[in-house]
């Protein structure tokens, strides 16, 4: 997958993948499908509706109902994409996702697959306050039976989404982040897939491993720049998917550097950064030269005021602080 110089925004690359997949597989239907919510990026998705009008279903405001319909339709042979909108609205859909979609394959002893994709644009978006800032991927990781993809860049979303939509036969949560839509990056022209469960070393480095998920990847790269200026050579690793998790690649990096900071934009307790930290401690304890650190949201609801919202956001600056502490 060579980018050949072309740059796209995350939203454009995502729309490109969606278009190709809709064209490739008749079984794909989209329930909802704003995808980019109130962001300007919504304009990249609108043309899809015009191009595939019969593949988009406009639902009432009924997240539980449409999540269940998506799961049931997937069981019966469709490949639905259900856009649940803002991450906080996913709680409405929990019974259908957690009690139904997640259990059907296992409980049926492998007889009923549920190839549904749930899309959420989540995370601290800027003035979302308590009910428009949730990123529920830690909750979904705590739910056996769900795949979780957290693309971090334009080329990533294009390849991961294609694999999710055309290959995967399992319920998948696509945890998108409001602040990624406008990120730019090189994107290969043709179709390509990034299979789930293959972590990516985004930036090689020798001194400390930064394991960063989704929106934390660009922040980790920014942090690595700052750290480089201080003589710390950080390796940035992006798991890409939490389920399945490519633990080997993460551990190989930590074995090499001997130091680790995990970073994710979920609340600290029982969050994703903590789980990654625990996995590393269990597995490569002896290779660690310093106590591990994590960067996460402190355990508070997201406040509205700009000053306070920024304060609780796991920014590049927080990553720099943590990496410095680990390398001290």
């Amino acid at each position: 997958m060579e980018a050949g110089g072309r740059e796209l925004t995350f939203a454009e690359a995502m729309a490109e993948a969606l278009r190709a997949c809709l064209a490739a597989d008749e079984r794909l239907v989209v329930i909802g499908g704003g995808f980019a919510g109130l962001t300007p990026a919504a304009r990249y998705f609108a043309p899809l509706l015009a191009e595939f009008p019969d593949r988009f279903l406009a639902p009432p405001i009924a997240e539980l109902g449409i999540a269940g319909i998506g799961a049931g339709a997937a069981m019966a042979g469709l490949r639905p994409i259900v856009d649940l909108g803002t991450g906080s609205f996913a709680f409405e859909a929990f019974p259908a996702i957690v009690n139904e979609a997640a259990i059907a394959y296992y409980t049926s002893n492998g007889q009923t697959a549920v190839p549904v994709l749930y899309h959420l644009h989540s995370g601290i978006r800027g003035a979302g306050a308590a009910q428009h800032s949730h990123a529920p991927h830690a909750l979904f990781w705590q739910t056996p039976g769900l795949q979780i993809m957290l693309p971090s860049a334009p080329a990533e979303v294009k390849g991961l989404l294609r694999w999710a939509l055309l290959r995967s036969r399992n319920p998948t949560i696509f945890v998108n982040h409001y602040r990624l839509f406008a990120e730019r990056g090189p994107v290969p022209e043709g179709d390509y897939e990034i299979p789930f469960g293959q972590a990516r070393v985004v930036r090689p480095g020798r001194d400390v491993t930064l394991i960063a998920c989704g929106v934390m990847v660009p922040r980790a790269l920014a942090a690595a720049e700052t750290l480089a200026g201080e003589g710390i050579d950080a390796e940035v690793v992006d798991p890409r998917t939490l389920v399945p998790l490519d633990l080997d690649t993460l551990l190989a990096s930590v074995r090499k550097t001997g130091r680790v900071v995990t970073a994710d934009e979920t609340p600290r307790s029982c969050g994703v950064a903590g789980e990654l930290l625990a996995r590393v401690c269990e597995a490569v304890w002896d290779a660690l030269k310093a106590p591990p650190r994590r960067v996460a949201i402190p355990d508070v609801s997201i406040p509205f005021a700009a000053s306070q919202e920024e304060y609780v956001t796991p920014t590049a600056a927080r990553l720099v602080e943590a990496a410095r502490a680990v390398c001290r």
Binding site: V29, L57, P59, P60, A62, L64, G65, I66, A67, G68, I69, G70, A71, G72, A73, A74, M75, A76, G77, L78, P80, P95, A96, N99, E100, I103, A104, Y105, Y106, T107, S108, N109, G110, Q111, T112, A113, V114, P115, P144, G145, Q147, W163, L166, R167, S168, R169, N170, P195, P244
Partner: protein
């Protein structure tokens, strides 16, 4: 309009109802065998007429979704009683290999893709299957059975609205098993936990055609269901049936309990032998006895013929029991396998 059911059909339905009855009765007995039947379970005794009448109208491609009280629906759909019983006993030969138990049996070849024991949970799923069917351009329908309790859940309401808006080929069968005999046919039965005068008012508010029938009478169920299914198959949208049943006294306690004695078909003509605690319900509400008496009264069957149907049902269940008891448990370590399907 649907034609009235003939005597042949009714005898066949009675045979199926007896199979369900004897299955559930055995289950209650198996519970006496310490450790054999683990966990809570629900029996379909008293509602058999509804399942067999509805399922008779289905074709193989149709989807069927059900609830915690699913055994009767699966048997009426043609699931092998041995596979169902083995599942309920957690055996490797069960329809889910023992992973699902009584609450989650599936039979994908018969359109039973996933069984949810979450009250109201099945309605959105069934609407989804109906959506899949419609998009394939077939006349396949999805039928979903659920209890009166399901209409207390928001999930059911959202699914009704979606099914109505999208004109999904969905038959909603609400089995209201809380109805006194005298009100089984007539309207306006208030439930203790639902504010509607009658439950069918809820789908009606969403412009879904809704019919209230005596769920103990397979002819009434058939007459209600046939036109709604025809509409759904023709792409005209969902239909709703409130099938009213009078709860079997054995399903009032937290755990199903045989009231007095094992069921006897001969109670149809020897009512004085019915145990006192069951007498009223048997006389007014037992769908098997009601149908047996009708067939006898109409000269459509002899007592001996009916007893033969029952004998066959008992033999089938006995064979299922032997097979299920003999079956092994699934290997423990297999618990960690099969969480995800391999990619296409």
């Amino acid at each position: 309009m649907a034609e009235a059911l003939g005597a042949d059909v009714l005898r066949d339905l009675l045979a199926q109802m007896l199979l369900i009855r004897r299955f559930e009765e055995r289950l209650i007995h198996l519970r006496e065998d310490a450790g054999l039947l683990r966990g809570h379970y629900h029996v379909y005794i008293g509602q058999e007429a509804t399942a067999v009448a509805v399922c008779r109208r289905l074709v193989p491609a149709d989807y069927l979704f059900t609830t915690h009280r699913n055994h009767g629906h699966l048997l009426a759909r043609g699931v092998d009683p041995a596979a169902l019983l083995a599942e309920i006993l957690g055996r490797a030969t069960g329809c889910n290999g023992g992973r699902g138990g009584t609450l989650h049996p599936v039979a994908p070849a018969l359109g039973v893709l996933h069984t949810s024991a979450i009250v109201g949970g099945a309605l959105p799923l069934a609407a989804g299957a109906a959506l899949a069917a419609r998009r394939r351009g077939t006349d396949t329908v999805a039928v979903v059975f659920f209890g009166d309790g399901a209409l207390e859940e928001g999930a059911a309401y959202e699914a009704l609205n979606l099914a109505a808006l999208w004109r999904l080929p969905l038959l909603l069968v609400c089995e209201n098993n809380s109805v006194p005999p005298a009100l089984r046919r007539a309207g306006q039965y208030p439930s203790s936990t639902h504010a509607a005068r009658e439950l069918a008012d809820v789908p009606r508010a969403l412009q879904i055609p809704a019919v209230v029938v005596d769920g103990a009478d397979p002819r009434a169920v058939d007459a209600a269901v046939a036109p709604l299914l025809a509409r759904a198959r023709a792409g005209e949208g969902p239909g709703f049936v409130e099938a009213r049943n009078s709860r079997w006294p054995g399903s009032y306690p937290l755990w199903p309990t045989l009231v007095g004695a094992d069921f006897e078909l001969a109670w149809a003509w020897e009512p004085e032998r019915v145990p006192a605690a069951l007498a009223e319900w048997s006389a007014s509400s037992d769908p098997i006895l009601l149908l047996a008496r009708d067939l006898l009264a109409a000269g459509a069957a002899t007592r001996a013929e009916l007893l033969a149907l029952d004998g066959a049902a008992r033999a089938a269940i006995a064979a299922a029991e032997r097979a299920a008891r003999a079956a092994p448990e699934p290997p423990a370590e297999q618990a960690l396998a099969g969480v995800f399907a391999s990619p296409e």
